[in-house]
């Protein structure tokens, strides 16, 4: 039996996946934000564990400024990741993808903004990697980049660059579609 999967079905599955990832990323971002604010302005937890059980107490005790900087980087990356998935959900949920006329300005601007957000995540992850490396070289025990949600800066850069290229091709597609629509 031949099973045909339409692009609409794939998009529906993608929407469900994006919702699941978005909820996970939001919980992560919220956890990091609440932990950061609590540790920065109230006091560290008695057991010395941050959100996701990150061992941040030694960094906190070493220097509060470095601790806040790392927290800021973790929170920025987590919030940008959540906003990327939110934008994908909005695009798929509101049926802005019209397969009959796909080259719309809305999708074009979505691609460009998502590309820049992705590059920003890559930049912050890369910077955080160097920062954590410097702190580790000073003898401060730090958790891995993956646990802090800062891993894979090269992958984010690659994804951002790819999205930018697709965005520029899409921009030309919008012009061609507009020209085609105005051909009588």
């Amino acid at each position: 039996m031949d099973i045909k999967i339409s692009s609409q079905q794939i998009l529906r599955v993608l929407l469900v996946l994006c919702w699941i990832i978005f909820i996970g990323v939001c919980i992560d971002a919220g956890g990091f934000l609440v932990s950061s604010i609590y540790w920065s302005f109230v006091k560290p937890n008695a057991d010395g564990f941050f959100w996701n059980k990150l061992p941040m107490l030694s960094l906190y005790q070493y220097d509060k400024g470095h601790f806040m900087a790392i927290c800021l980087l973790i929170c920025i990356v987590a919030v940008i990741k959540a906003s990327i998935f939110y934008r994908i959900i909005v695009l798929l949920q509101e049926n802005k993808l019209n397969m009959a006329k796909p080259f719309t300005r809305e999708v074009g601007s979505f691609l460009f903004l998502t590309a820049w957000l992705t590059i920003m995540v890559g930049f912050f992850c890369s910077y955080a990697g160097k920062y954590v490396g410097q702190l580790t070289s000073k003898g401060i025990p730090m958790s891995g980049m993956k646990e802090m949600g800062l891993a894979g800066s090269d992958v984010w850069f690659f994804m951002g660059a790819t999205l930018l290229v697709i965005g520029f091709i899409f921009k030309r597609g919008i012009e061609l579609q507009a020209e085609n629509d105005l051909t009588i």
Binding site: A178, E179, L182, T183, I184
Partner: protein
């Protein structure tokens, strides 16, 4: 755009309404309106042929070139 569409002039000369022309050339009113108002980016030969046939005119009667000043 330096290409001017004089469709309204020819329609007035032939005393033909937009609705009537739309029926004769089998083009939607909105598309004819785009053509008439000069918003169109291109015109197909088949459309031009149908309009010339309906208005009994030449392409040059409908299209005119005026260089940008």
């Amino acid at each position: 755009m330096p290409i001017i569409v004089n469709l309204d002039v020819m329609m007035a000369r032939r005393k033909m309404s937009l609705n009537e022309l739309s029926e004769k050339v089998d083009i939607t009113l909105s598309n004819l309106s785009i053509l008439k108002t000069g918003k169109a980016k291109a015109i197909r030969f088949s459309t031009l042929e149908a309009i010339c046939k309906a208005l009994d005119c030449q392409p040059a009667d409908i299209l005119e070139y005026q260089p940008d000043r």
